[in-house]
């Protein structure tokens, strides 16, 4: 059976959902996964990998874990030491930063943000979007190792498997670039790429304060993130980190709710692979209704608070 090295992100001993999905992609292709974790809490997180189809876990510590160049070199060395035929990382900001460097160290191409990963002959094949999802390509590589990052909210999480053997390594090379700090954003808010529900607002909300109804709806779901169209980001109403679309983030939540967003081609490119799409817009001709599973025509300032109240009531019953 082929071996795939998977970069598994953890935070304070907790495995990140996106990493479990990357392990799920490896499992789905019938491969054995070797998980690599790093930072404080790596050992605790590795101990939680028992049910994810992972044969071995390697925990990295030392100054090199704070340097993307040193860490990516260590990952490439592990891929070679394991004679792995694949390397996967989740398409998180850390994964997207490391994976191209790992691929370069291995002299291999990288497939970014793949939405499909399967066995093909002795190797693997991937599917990934081109032109922000306006086309889809199925690809293989002639390189020795298939390197890819997996799109968030796309791969099922694998179950079963024995507990991995855990080993550790210390990276002493401090690297050429070093992360020296993180300024966390307020109250552990979910990022639009990670959240199972995204509630997005556009220019139809009229003013920055109009986003209160979006924030309230997101809060009613609990595990939702707030997204935005580029128009309102450019107006300075919302931060760029919330922008969905071709020049923002590509999201694929289980539920995407677009409020007061017209549905320009660049916006659709960033959200059209979402599970269920709901649109609320006062213009029945708005292009967003062409991709929406469910639409309500009318004034967001009346509809959204009513929806929020209903959802709160349902959640309160659970």
């Amino acid at each position: 059976m082929s071996n795939i090295v998977v970069f598994v992100e953890q935070e304070g001993g907790n495995l990140r959902q996106a990493s479990l999905e990357a392990l799920g992609a490896a499992h789905q292709a019938g491969a054995t996964a070797v998980a690599v974790l790093c930072g404080d809490g790596a050992q605790a997180a590795a101990a939680k990998l028992t049910a994810q189809g992972v044969s071995a876990a390697i925990c990295l510590d030392g100054p090199g874990t704070h340097s993307p160049d040193a860490l990516s070199k260590a990952l490439a060395d592990i891929v070679q030491a394991q004679s792995a035929s694949g390397f996967l990382a989740p398409a998180t900001s850390r994964g997207r930063d490391l994976a191209p460097r790992v691929a370069a160290h291995l002299d291999c191409v990288l497939f970014s943000d793949v939405t499909g990963f399967a066995a093909n002959g002795g190797g693997f094949e991937v599917t990934r979007p081109w032109l922000a999802g306006k086309a889809i390509a199925t690809l293989t590589t002639s390189g020795a190792v298939l390197c890819a990052t997996t799109r968030l909210n796309t791969f099922p999480i694998a179950g079963g498997g024995a507990a991995p053997t855990v080993t550790s390594q210390t990276l002493n090379d401090a690297g050429k670039a070093r992360v020296t700090g993180v300024e966390a954003k307020g109250q552990a808010k979910l990022d639009v790429t990670e959240a199972p529900v995204v509630v997005s607002g556009g220019r139809g909300l009229k003013e920055p304060e109009g986003f209160q109804i979006i924030e309230d709806l997101a809060a009613a779901f609990g595990d939702a993130a707030v997204g935005a169209s580029r128009a309102v980001v450019d107006l300075g109403w919302r931060p760029h980190s919330e922008q969905v679309g071709q020049t923002g983030k590509t999201v694929a939540p289980k539920l995407y709710i677009a409020v007061g967003i017209s549905g320009a081609i660049q916006h659709l490119a960033g959200m059209r692979t979402s599970g269920t799409i709901v649109a609320i817009n006062k213009d029945p001709e708005a292009p967003i209704f062409k991709v929406a599973d469910y639409g309500i025509v009318g004034d967001a300032f009346e509809i959204v608070p009513a929806l929020t109240a209903e959802i709160k009531a349902i959640k309160a019953k659970h």
Binding site: A177, R178, K254, G295, K315
Partner: protein, 250 residues
């Protein structure tokens, strides 16, 4: 200081995808081209770096001989000269082949700092910057939203899911630019006139073969026909019911 901004020619964001006759690529015949969105931020950052620290800004592109329009635009905004690595197959090159071709030229240019886009809005790799840096042995910081640079190194802030991360690095380095790093300037008439006289070096290159092999390219399945549930607040119960029966979220 040798400052380089990498600019890729890509189809504009209104482009409609059509699959080429061989079923393995995109039909380019109706494409209109622009400089990739984030590359405009890279050019602006390069010009601001020159204004602060001195040196020369060189625009580097691997692309079609017909792609000099985007390069002239960058020079109109303050870049001093340009190198165009002529490759008519640039659109279908994989990220490894592109990164190697650029890295080779960057080393020849003795680049101290290289600005690239966070991702090119055609194949959405988001890979060429960190790959080229790795081939060159340069430091690299990706998705940068704020930057302080000196003659020997710098501090960059990058956007992550958790918040804003601070990274210290030494030069030479590749910086990939995210939205928010700066506001690209417009080219003035004087700049446009001056750009016509700035040197644009066309270099013929042999790019290595792709490792990426396209099995097939296709258009995404259209989403199934949606339903307008109704108008105004009266339609909210129908939406709740649909979400309860068709998702596991409520």
């Amino acid at each position: 200081m040798n400052i380089v901004a990498c600019v890729k020619r890509v189809p504009n964001t209104e482009a409609v995808a059509e699959i080429s006759a061989d079923g393995k690529g995109l039909d380019a015949k109706n494409f209109q081209y622009i400089a990739s969105f984030y590359d405009e931020i890279a050019v602006e950052q390069a010009v601001q770096t020159k204004e602060a620290l001195g040196g020369e800004v060189i625009v580097l592109s691997l692309g079609s001989a017909a792609g000099s329009k985007e390069i002239r635009e960058s020079m109109a905004k303050g870049a001093d000269k340009a190198v165009l690595l002529v490759d008519e197959e640039w659109q279908s090159r994989d990220c490894r082949a592109t990164a190697k071709a650029l890295a080779c030229q960057l080393s020849e240019l003795k680049a101290d700092v290289v600005f690239m886009g966070k991702v090119a809005t055609d194949r959405d790799n988001g890979a060429v910057g960190p790959m080229a840096a790795t081939f060159l042995g340069y430091a690299c910081v990706t998705d940068v939203v704020a930057l302080e640079l000196t003659a020997t190194g710098g501090t960059a802030k990058r956007e992550t899911e958790a918040g804003i991360e601070t990274v210290e690095f030494s030069l030479p380095a590749v910086i990939t630019c995210n939205k928010g790093l700066n506001e690209p300037r417009y080219a003035g008439l004087k700049g446009i006139m001056a750009a016509k006289k700035k040197p644009l070096d066309e270099v013929q290159v042999e790019v290595i073969a792709n490792q990426a092999q396209v099995v097939r390219a296709s258009l995404p399945a259209p989403r199934k026909e949606g339903r307008i549930l109704g108008e105004g607040v009266a339609a909210v119960p129908a939406l709740i019911q649909a979400l309860q029966t068709e998702t596991t979220l409520l």
